[in-house]
Structures are given as C-alpha cells and as structure tokens.
Symmetry: C2
C-alpha cells in the first residue's frame, strides 16, 4: 500500500500542497527498420486542479554525426534535474557528454547515471515526505558508425532495449494505447504507419484518461540520416486529431456492428 | 512503494511460496436498459508458474423473485471466504440472507459487510506477511418490485453504482479492454451488443496480458425476468473466440490502412 501521501493516482483535496508535479501521462517510441518515431503528450499535473504543460521530448543532435531523443515521465522535478545535468555536460568532453559519447549503449548509461545522481540527492528527502522517487525515460537515436537503438530507462537507472520482436516501448499511462499498437505495428512498418499508429494510441489513451491530452509532440528519425526528420506538435483542436477521433470511432463502431454473431447468441 | 513481498505484479522466483493465489484478471458488468450482462475470465495465478482455474461468477437466484450475480477479483482466499459466508447465510432469515433481502442496495451492503468480516479476521495476518488485503467485486441483479442495479464493491466494503451515464463497471486488469467499451456501448445498447463487446474487450485484454485467458464465462439477465438468462462458458480454442480474434484484428488493420494521412505527413 502506498503511503497516504504518495502520488498514487489519488486526487488531492483543496489546499493539498505535498503532491509534486508529475508527467505520469503517456509517451511511446518505435524502433523500425526505417528509423525511429517518438511521440509524447505535454501535460503535467499535480492533481486535477493543477494541469500545465511541459515539453517531454528533448533532442540532442549534431547533424551528420548523431541524433538522440529523450522522452520523460514521472516526477517533473526529477526528470528536469536529469535533463539539466545532461545539458550541462554537453560539449565538456567529460564522461557524461552526449555530444561525444561513441555509442548509443554508452549514451543510455549516461542517462541512467544522471538519474542515479538525482536519486542520491533527492530520494531520501522525497521519502521523508512520503513521496516515491518516480521517473522513467524513453531514449533512442543513432551515432555515426552504429545502429539506431531505443531504450527504456527505469527509475533505478538500469534499462531495457527494443528489438525486432519488441519494436516499441511505452512509459506513463501505457495500457489504453497498447492494443492498437500490438495489432498494427511490426519492426518492418514504415515511419508513416508508426506516426499514425502513435496518434491512434494517443486517441485511445486520451479518451480513457483525462490527464493525457494535447499538445502531442512527434519526432521522426530516418535511419542513417543522423539528424532530426519530421517534427510536429499537434495542439488542442488540431484538425487531424479531430479527424482521427471521428474516423477511428466510426470505423470501430462499423466493424463492431458488422461482427458476426455466434450461434449461441441467436437463442437470446 | 509496496512492501518487497507484496503481490504487485512482480514475478516471484522459483521456490517463492509467500505469494497467494489471486484472480487479478478481468471481469466486467453492464447495466443496460434491457438488463444486465456479466463477463469474467476464470484464471487465477500465484505467479506465472501457478496458473489455475476458479469460476468467478456466482449466482444467487430465486426464479420469479430475484436474480443476483457476483463477480470477484483479487486474493482468492479472501473472495472465496466472502462467497462462503454469503452462501452460509442463504435462507437463514438472518441479516446477511441474500435470498431474503428486500432491495439490491441492501444486498450490496451485505456483500460489503461480508468482505469487512473477512478483513477483521485476515487483514492483520496478511499484513504481517507483507501482503495486501486485496479483493473487489462486481455485483448486480434485481429483486421483485425494484430496479435492476449494478455495483462495484471495493476491498474496504464500500461501493459505487453504475448509471445511465456510466453503464459498465470493471475489476482486475481493466485498461486494455476499456477503449472498445467506451466506443461502442451505451445504456441503450442491447444485451447482444454488450455480450459481443465484452468478448472484444476480453480479446484486447488477453492479447496484452497473458494472465487473462479463457474460459470466459458470460451471464446475461433480461430486465424484469427475475431469473438467469443466457449462460455461456467459452473455453480455450472456442471457435467464436478464434473468429473474433481474426475478424477484429483484420478489421482494425484495414481501418488503420484506410485512415487518411495528414498534410504534414506527405512531406516525410
């Protein structure tokens, strides 16, 4: 059982100030034969009466040499501290320099190490306030001479990697949007398909969880391009988000009405 | 943070005997203008190496006078203790007698009270072993002279009720199967539609969580009939479950491929 003050989905009452702002919303990354696709919403909340925006996709790139994208979820103070440290170490030539690190694997270890540093400083103080040390990242990209890779980094700083068999990773509110991905995307899907699937996955999630919502940021990376590809931000009221919602809802309802009956149902 | 031994989705290693058998799988109930529909899978597990079956729908009925169905999830020792107590009190004329209780609201309070009794006896001992008191029920039916009603009873013994605006309630692994219900079912849907939607909702859940699986039990209740309607159990390998999986997967993929592109995607 979480402690009474833990941020565990409970809605704090008025005047409740202990809960910290978090982006426990939704982000997904795809590892495809053709490249990488990242999508994240931009909402954060510290209870339903304090919803605001924070960009959750951070890019690190040296065009022609390397491209990396970092998607965050969890306690915003923690994830911002990690990103600040990664930014500060850029171009220093130190161990934590994502602009100098030779491989994506070593880069993922740098992100994990930055998270562990924040843990060292903050975790005890959070625990004293009954708060969990809660943060997760999706991190992917490509460094010249290496393969495009995609990782999910846990709050403990260790990580798992996407593969041909498991071509996507999710953080935050992952479940509502998972069935559509499982049914449509494989490693050989195109970037187009992954982007449209990501938007459908967000549509399902937003319909079932009000704390996830636009703007939705999308970043696509074409394999071996070593620079950002398409970057789009779809705001509240975006016509394509509206079209998807209407089209997909209609297509699902039609498929549902057309679904054959089992014999045993004819008796009812 | 749950205690290290708590049943929180962690997979126990070999020789781990502390985890208790639970049915944290999936069950759903619908409150419709035409009646009630209940669906539940029958798997229980105490870790992935100990999966077995336990029926999760219990009916209490006196045809022509009352019909009730109880769906359970959580720690199997707790839910079985509750059901045993409800069974023992039947036809005793005591306060806990579901065969004598005058309204569905009073019946839901009886189920909640039975759960609280089990809590009094067991919770402390579970806590000593680092285990949570974890159980939930969906409970619905109709008593002569009253309306058909549907409740979800929490482990604390209190409960919420379905309504015209919220015509369904879920327990267990609820998220994967929620989007399809949100998109297709309202209070005015037919029993047919709710049964087919329940099976699709299970299909999505089973695809994404291996601990949910057939047999799937379905009980339908026609409003004012005051007796069980259709009762079906779909076993592993049931041809209709196979047909649904193939039909629905194909329909979703087709709808996905037919989905229009946004203008900004043409540049990719």
């Amino acid at each position: 059982m979480p402690a009474p003050n833990a941020p565990g989905g409970r809605i704090p009452g008025p005047g409740y100030t202990k809960i910290q702002t978090r982006s426990m919303t939704y982000a997904v990354g795809f590892l495809l034969d053709h490249g990488l696709v990242f999508a994240a919403d931009s909402r954060t909340n510290a209870g339903v009466d304090q919803v605001s925006l924070a960009r959750k996709i951070t890019r690190f790139e040296k065009p022609g040499e390397r491209f990396m994208a970092l998607l965050s979820s969890g306690n915003l103070a923690i994830t911002q501290a990690v990103i600040r440290q990664l930014m500060e170490d850029l171009d220093t030539g130190e161990d934590g320099d994502l602009h100098a690190v030779p491989t994506m694997f070593a880069a993922a270890r740098i992100v994990g190490a930055a998270l562990r540093n924040v843990y060292e400083v903050d975790a005890e103080h959070l625990a004293e306030q009954g708060l969990e040390f809660n943060a997760a990242f999706i991190f992917g990209g490509q460094v010249e001479g290496g393969e495009a890779r995609l990782f999910m980094i846990y709050s403990a700083g260790n990580f798992i990697e996407a593969s041909v068999e498991t071509p996507y990773l999710q953080i935050g509110e992952t479940k509502y949007g998972k069935p559509i991905i499982d049914r449509t995307i494989t490693h050989s899907s195109t970037l187009h398909q992954a982007i449209k699937c990501a938007l459908l996955s967000f549509d399902s999630t937003m319909r079932s969880n009000v704390s996830v919502g636009p703007p939705i940021d999308i970043v696509a990376y074409e394999r071996d391009s070593l620079k950002s590809g398409l970057r789009v931000s779809l705001a509240e009221g975006d016509p394509y988000l509206g079209l998807i919602r209407e089209y997909w809802g209609g297509a699902l309802r039609q498929a549902f009405y057309d679904m054959p009956d089992p014999d045993w149902l004819k008796s009812l």
